[in-house]
């Protein structure tokens, strides 16, 4: 073995013997190294991802309120639902001929996965490809994102039930059983976690549309309270369907004016730059109940705040890092002093000065190297999973 290997061996034996001290020092160095680097990676990476999706979404229209909440809900399906706009806005945009509108209804969930009520145009707009099965075509059908399929263990042909919003709210929405007809290929974004349904299905979950026993039939007679021409009044014993099948699909219907039905947001894809300007101009009136938002701009504003917070945090971490490194240096110096007899022994039996210095130096180097290695590993993990974490943080 070479002198360096021998010195490294002796340094390692000491560090192993002093396990607890070594672990604490490694953890301190790893933490102080990782925090500023990891924070920068986290912010840069998540900023990049957040901006990429925002830039891929030209305009968003929704009810007046927080623009950021509208963006986060429409792009990441993770924030609290913004105040609803009405489906009639879709018709208004279509009539204007300025943009292609895509409705989004994001309110319900299957366990932790968001149910996104939309149209097939959304799948085309995001470039979402069906990997197994087919797209949703009928009421009660759903297509699940790749990650949602993995988490929920779903494949085409399976069924999944929407989660009630509150277990104790008897007047609230009731679960609806959805049939999985397709699984999307991974898109490496929020779409992977979603369960996509037609917007009408989302309205059924919300209770705006429903299917029930045919009151004209004899078996429903007991539930009928009165008949007034075409109008039949029934009591609560009428059987309502919580599952849409081929047999009962026809019975599903919607009450009220469709233009009044809710949407969380509308993605508007202008035909050209001029259309974009004109469309935005339509929402400048202070009496206008809806707002139009450029997601990239909202996200840039959010990231600017995040960058400011980051710079304060990095400064604070810098101070803590100096204190930690000073403490670590003190620990090493005290350790060397306490082990003076060891070094004296090595000198007495003829140890070379270079070897003794190398052993002590390698103890420091190995601890620092292990700390930096751990910091590097944490940084890699941050790069891999950090943006998801920050998105959850921003939208929770």
């Amino acid at each position: 073995m070479s002198l360096a290997t021998d010195s490294l061996y002796l340094a390692w034996r000491y560090l192993r013997h002093q396990r607890m001290k070594t672990v604490i020092l490694v953890a301190a160095i790893a933490t102080t190294s990782f925090l500023p680097v990891g924070l920068n990676v986290l912010v840069a990476k998540s900023g990049e991802e957040l901006m990429a999706r925002a830039e891929a979404t030209p305009l968003l229209i929704g009810a007046r309120g927080s623009a950021l909440e509208l963006v986060l809900s429409a792009l990441y399906f993770e924030s609290d639902p913004p105040p609803p706009a009405h489906y009639g806005e879709i018709d208004r945009i279509l009539e204007s001929g300025l943009a292609e509108p895509i409705p989004l209804h994001v309110r319900f969930r299957v366990r932790d996965q968001p149910i996104v009520g939309t149209t097939l145009e959304y799948l085309d707009f995001r470039g979402l490809r069906v990997e197994a099965g087919r797209r949703m075509a009928r009421l009660g059908e759903c297509v699940v994102g790749a990650e949602a399929a993995r988490i929920l263990g779903l494949a085409p042909g399976d069924t999944v039930v929407s989660s009630p919003e509150s277990a104790f709210d008897l007047g609230g929405v009731y679960p609806l059983e959805l049939t999985v007809v397709g699984v999307l290929a991974p898109a490496f974004g929020p779409d992977d976690n979603a369960v996509f349904v037609d917007i009408k299905t989302a309205w059924v979950i919300e209770g705006i549309g429903h299917g029930h026993q045919d009151l004209a039939k004899v078996e429903a007679e007991a539930a009928v309270l009165a008949r007034e021409g075409d109008r039949i009044i029934a009591n609560a014993s009428v059987v309502e369907f919580n599952r849409i099948t081929d047999a009962n699909r026809e019975s599903f219907h919607f009450h009220g004016d469709r233009s009044e039905h809710p949407v969380s947001a509308i993605i508007a894809v202008p035909h050209d730059a001029k259309s974009r300007v004109l469309l935005m101009g339509r929402y400048t009136d202070p009496d206008e109940p809806n707002q139009i938002v450029r997601p990239a701009q909202s996200m840039a504003e959010l990231l600017e705040t995040v960058f400011t917070v980051r710079s304060y945090l990095v400064a604070a971490i810098g101070v803590v890092a100096i204190a930690t490194l000073a403490t670590a240096s003190l620990v090493f110096m005290l350790s060397f002093r306490l082990r003076k007899r060891e070094t004296e022994t090595m000198v007495k039996i003829g140890g070379a000065r270079a070897s003794i210095v190398a052993i002590l130096a390698l103890e420091v180097v190995v601890v620092i190297a292990m700390g930096l290695l751990l910091a590097g590993l944490l940084t890699l993990l941050t790069e891999r999973f950090g943006s998801g974490m920050i998105r959850v943080l921003l939208t929770s």
Partner: protein, 227 residues
């Protein structure tokens, strides 16, 4: 083997000085060195080992005038030619028995840790009755066992000169004779010189020659030497 003539040594603080008129040991000779506390026995051993350098005079070991060598060369000479045993064992507590014995090979470029060295270490450990503790940390051993490990470390390089500074000072009667006998047997088998500092009069009978440090002083020492 050892030649000292007209040696003067003073510690830096000037609190202690040692003057040796002359001392000679031949190869294979086993000598017990006695003297009252503070008379400079340990200092004399350090001078012979080249751990300390005299202000004046000549110290030669096996023909090499170590008193004239620079520090790095004295260290190299020491690790190659001398075996040292200390009263307090001076073992590295984070190392196993085997690693402590092989320590001289790991801290100098002048020795090579090869198969032969490992074999010698194994044989010595077995010879002193610690074969089963080879990979155990020295902190798990008794005092007597630790000193036997220290003796193995001193012998593993097959030195021509053994210097032992009160090697039995912390040992019970059974262990003290055992340790001294190991050192003496090695010296006899390898024709090595052995210079042992001791306060223990029971052990003096085992040495063919005993030197009282007072007899080689040119004048009385002053103060208390550092150990």
């Amino acid at each position: 083997m050892i030649e000292l003539s007209d040696v003067l040594f003073r510690y830096r603080d000037g609190e202690f000085e040692l003057r040796i008129l002359g001392l000679e040991l031949v190869r294979g000779e086993q000598v017990g060195l006695i003297g009252p506390s503070g008379s400079g026995k340990t200092t004399l051993l350090h001078l012979v080992a080249g751990i300390e350098r005299p202000e004046r005079g000549r110290i030669a070991v096996d023909g090499t005038v170590i008193s004239e060598l620079p520090d790095a060369n004295r260290r190299a000479f020491r690790v190659r030619n001398l075996g040292l045993v200390f009263q307090e064992f001076a073992l590295l507590e984070h190392l196993s028995v085997l690693d402590n014995v092989l320590l001289p090979y790991r801290i100098t470029p002048v020795l090579r840790l090869d198969r032969a060295a490992r074999g010698r270490a194994g044989s010595l450990i077995e010879r002193v009755g610690l074969a089963e503790a080879t990979n155990r940390l020295v902190t798990h051993l008794s005092q007597g066992e630790r000193q036997r490990v220290a003796v193995c470390r001193a012998l593993v390089t097959e030195p021509a000169l053994l210097l032992a500074d009160e090697p039995t000072g912390n040992l019970d009667p059974v262990n003290k004779f055992r340790v001294i006998d190991i050192l003496r047997d090695y010296a006899r088998e390898h024709d090595a010189a052995l210079l042992t500092v001791t306060h223990d009069h029971d052990l003096l009978g085992r040495f063919p020659r005993v030197i009282d440090i007072k007899s080689i002083h040119s004048e009385p020492t002053r103060g208390v030497p550092s150990s």
